[in-house]
Subunit: 303 residues, 2 copies
């Protein structure tokens, strides 16, 4: 048995995987804020999930954790997870010591990549395109996570695609993230809807011209992200996840249509069959928690 | 012993590698034009190189070939190598049958990637950035070529980076290749110099304002290519090769300076240490031929 924890901004999603990688138990607890709360809640989620899955007392299964921020997987340390109130936390060693088992932590996008690859039953190469507040990607190549030489692969949100585009928080101008991300859409759309991208799509469907223009800009940015991933790495599949992917077919169909429209003006793009490579992450499944469990095999050094 | 052939537009560069991967023999022959000439000359180059390296008669070593065009490595077929006059040629099976040995063919950029990785003694991940008539890249990840799911990884020259840029032959607008490639520079610079990029750099050094502007655009495009490769794949090293790399330090120093200037306006880019990852392919060494020999281990089906 292995445990996987997906530590998000509001909740921790926890699963126990059996030896055949099926989900034996799943639960959610609030994340809390700050190092003490996050550690306490992660520990409780792990203990309760192990118990629910029938792990014998005193034999804690190995744990994999997906978490936002800058993750040093080797040392088990997470830094700058601002939404969780964590500046620097030796999450891996702390939990390992407290629970008496191996703990491996992984960037949340990487964990979701591995989970999507597994849950979709893929067996070639895949990019996971996370359209959330920001835009980033993860890669599974030949069945294994590609983290990059220094652990930062997939930062395609900060590839500039328009020299006259908006100033990005990263210091560059016209980054892909300034077009195709929830954070930027919310800022440009304005208002105070709980789900600004959903409101945007609803208003666009209702014929609001400003909403249509902004929605199409977002779709064009998502299509550009798919194109970049395939042109650079030639992944067989691009799986769209993250908060915006909850729009489901309303998102996917438009992204595929945008890719098809581009293919009509370019034999080269047509030869890449981009729209056929795109799909959505499985809905309502604990993708990142499952991926974290799968990533949790290699232990981190004990505290 | 293994043989490697780099079949280029004008010459075939051939090497024999010993079992410790050192170069035992090297020679060059003209490529010729059209299927019959290319086959004949490749066969002659292989035979002469094997003989020069002391291979026993009748025991032809396995051969790896790097060649431009669309390469189907599995079938050993090259298509659309227009500079060689080849529309479609079963180069692998033809040579294998004629020489009685295993022959594997590989895209020329991939072969050069593997050769650069080996000759530079790298042991992490690398992108090979080919700045020639066009712009494309190859990847060596964890010591192995990453060809992509469908053999087209590294087509970063056709990532659009400016929606108001020039129309590209691929059907898109503002592709990276329309800024950072020898073909486009020659077209914009005009004149009839044999080496237009060299003339451009010389005239820029002499203070010609139009040359300075065009040179800096080229440098900016090369820097953008490095940034894209590291942001997407987080390779440890980006090795610049291709015809333009013959400018040596005149190119490398300016690309590094452009990356450093960008890092000064972006903490994020600074954290990626881009300029420290860039280097030149080894000068005057048979990079692609060596890489082709290294890639030539897996045989193709016989004719």
């Amino acid at each position: 048995m292995r445990l996987g924890l997906d530590i998000g901004g509001t909740k921790i999603d926890a699963v126990a995987l059996g030896d055949d990688d099926t989900v034996l138990a799943r639960m959610r607890v609030p994340t809390g804020f700050g190092a003490e709360a996050v550690l306490h809640n992660a520990r409780a989620a792990a203990l309760q999930t192990a118990e629910a899955a029938g792990a014998s007392a005193g034999a804690m299964p190995p744990i994999g954790i997906g978490i936002p921020g800058m993750v040093d997987a080797g040392a088990g340390v997470v830094r700058y997870a601002v939404n969780l109130g964590l500046e620097e936390l030796a999450l891996g060693p702390e939990l390992a010591a407290s629970l008496g088992t191996a703990v491996r932590i992984e960037n949340d996008v990487n964990a979701a990549s591995l989970g999507a690859y597994h849950l979709l039953g893929l067996d070639s190469s895949m990019a996971y395109l996370n359209l959330g507040t920001g835009l980033a990607a993860g890669f599974v190549l030949d069945g294994a996570l590609w983290r990059g030489a220094r652990g930062t692969a997939g930062e395609i949100g900060h590839i500039p695609v328009d020299p006259h585009g908006e100033q990005c928080a990263c210091g560059q101008r016209g980054c892909l993230e300034t077009i195709a991300s929830g954070g930027w859409v919310a800022r440009k759309w304005g208002g105070d809807a709980a789900l600004p991208v959903l409101e945007l799509f609803d208003r666009a469907d209702a014929g609001d011209a400003r909403a249509v223009a902004l929605r199409d800009e977002l779709i064009g940015g998502a299509a550009a992200a798919v194109r970049i991933l395939v042109l650079a790495v030639d992944v067989d599949a691009v799986v769209i996840g993250g908060g915006i992917s909850n729009l489901g077919a309303r998102l996917l169909d438009r992204v595929a249509a945008a890719l098809d429209a581009q293919a009509e003006t370019s034999e080269f793009l047509a030869s890449l069959a981009l729209s056929s490579r795109v799909r959505l992450v499985p809905h309502e499944q604990p993708v990142a928690a499952v991926g974290a469990a799968l990533a949790g095999i290699r232990p981190v050094p004990a505290l």
